[in-house]
């Protein structure tokens, strides 16, 4: 049977996480459809048809879907769920928000943050903040899955030639309403998609030091900015910078941890990075147990030095 991928988009652009979810879907079934549910989402649907390996794109357009609220979105997914053996979404804030609603209505379990497809009914997923990997089998008729994007290489965004099939929106009760949105403005690569990430922790001491030390280094490397929970809680940076079990899960080519001790919850978010560099003055810091290259040094002198050395 076919698999359905719920596209992650903001009506205008299709988010890269969708490509990772399609990759996971193709391992479940050779027939993969994408649902683009939104309002005026023609551009996003136009991008979805070009994704390699996709059979068809179902576009549902309705004003109620403009802001991806869980209730109307779940209603649309359920309206077309019949006939699919797998329903997948990337494990983003949106995917995590809506998919359990779909699973509960179908009376099936959900498989969260899947990192590997073993077979059409068996999957691997991390538990206990990534300290253990569970292999789980689902006997349910429909597998509802959120995909940990760092676990799957994205499929090509072009080369596909799927057709768009427009469908009418299903009725959805208006018990929730969108009020507003405050997005952090940034010209940098998106944290979850970046090749290089420079992350700062409590060791920096203040938001000013983060701007003064971490930002120039990231500029030099063309890197995204990250932070530990301690740095976020202390108000150095906005909360969407947070890397960890409760923040973003990343796996870049290079992860530079500056003034981060390496608590379990932080490691859960970044230990799949290809190369990890840690700069910390405490030689006992747990971050050194996962770092490929460790430098025990005062970050206030070594980070500017590093920035300079890269010029």
């Amino acid at each position: 049977m076919a698999a359905l991928v719920i596209a992650e988009h903001d009506n205008q652009s299709l988010k890269a996480a969708t490509l990772n979810a399609v990759a996971a879907a193709l391992q479940c079934s050779p027939e993969v459809d994408i649902l683009v549910a939104g309002s005026g989402a023609d551009v996003a649907a136009g991008a979805a048809v070009q994704i390699a390996g996709v059979r068809k794109v179902i576009q549902i357009d309705a004003p109620a879907l403009a802001d991806q609220l869980a209730e109307p979105l779940a209603a649309q997914i359920l309206s077309i769920a019949n006939g699919y053996s797998h329903i997948l979404a990337p494990a983003t804030a949106n995917g995590k928000n809506v998919m359990p609603r779909v699973a509960a209505k179908l009376d099936v379990a959900q498989l969260s943050d899947v990192t590997k497809v073993v077979s059409a009914d068996t999957f691997e997923r991390p538990i206990y903040a990534g300290n253990a990997i569970a292999t789980v089998q689902s006997a349910d008729p429909v597998k509802v899955i959120t995909v940990r994007t760092t676990g799957f290489d994205p499929v090509a965004a072009t080369g596909g030639s799927a057709a768009v099939e427009k469908q009418a929106a299903a009725d959805s009760a208006g018990k929730s309403a969108f009020v507003g949105r405050e997005l952090t403005k940034s010209d940098r690569p998106e944290l979850t998609a970046a090749k290089i990430i420079v992350s700062g922790g409590r060791g920096l001491g203040s938001g000013e030091k983060y701007q003064e030390l971490v930002v120039p280094l990231a500029d030099k490397l063309g890197a995204a900015l990250g932070a530990s929970r301690a740095a976020v809680d202390a108000g150095y940076v906005p909360n969407d910078y947070q890397v960890g079990q409760t923040g973003k899960i990343v796996a870049p080519q290079l992860y530079v941890a500056v003034g981060i001790s390496g608590a379990i919850q932080h490691l859960a978010g970044m230990k799949d990075s290809k190369v990890i560099v840690a700069i910390n003055k405490d030689p006992e810091a747990p971050i050194f147990s996962v770092a490929d290259y460790g430098l025990v040094a005062d970050l206030f002198t070594s980070v500017p030095e590093l920035t300079k050395a890269l010029s």
């Binding site: 609220l69 379990a109 929730s176 909360n239 973003k248 919850q265």
Partner: protein, 249 residues
Amino acid sequence: MKILVAVKRVVDYNVKVRVKSDNSGVDIANVKMSMNPFDEIAVEEAVRLKEAGVATEVVVVTAGVTQCQETLRTALAIGADRAILVETDADLQPLAVAKILKALSEKEAAQIIILGKQAIDDDSNQTGQMLASLLDIPQATFASKVVVADGKATVTREVDGGLETIALTLPAVITTDLRLNEPRYVTLPNIMKAKKKPLDIIKPEELGVDIAPRLKTLKVEEPPKRTAGVMVADVAALVEKLKNEAKVI
């Protein structure tokens, strides 16, 4: 109005768990257990809503083994009014818990149900959403600010890229994110008082819900170990390694 808060007893977040040698699961015998950190935030928020005069009663619930009573007592010490334990030794998965909570929410006629966004053991992040779905009521997940007025809850949510605010018609389900509040420390007098607060124990059968597990865990393994890294002497050596050995810059 009445607020229902769901809490879970989990391995303490400071404990580094070990996988059992037979790969059947994680060894949690003789390991410190605590209330799931997100649930502490949920209890705190409910108690604050009561202190602000929005809520009249805070009922805290959990499902699991007998020892979960300790977790409920902690919630009572934070300020919840009474507790319910749905006692079972069965392996409870999020869908089953959502069904139990649905039955309890209906029985208690709760206007707001607050849960943590995820439990730090199974890392599922499902139960709140499933509960809202089963009850056919709106949800606000990953809440960092909650304002309740005029039969509505206005909730600021932490989403990828920033914050988003939505308004929900009550009854509704809210799941807490880390920055919603800082849970208070429980004081000794409150722990003593909590011992006298009512704690009802019921069986899942009394609620008439199907709690059979849907997912079968075939094995649990250690994650792949990273190969030991090297310590470099100075910045120059680090740059040299990154350029020539790792070739990442």
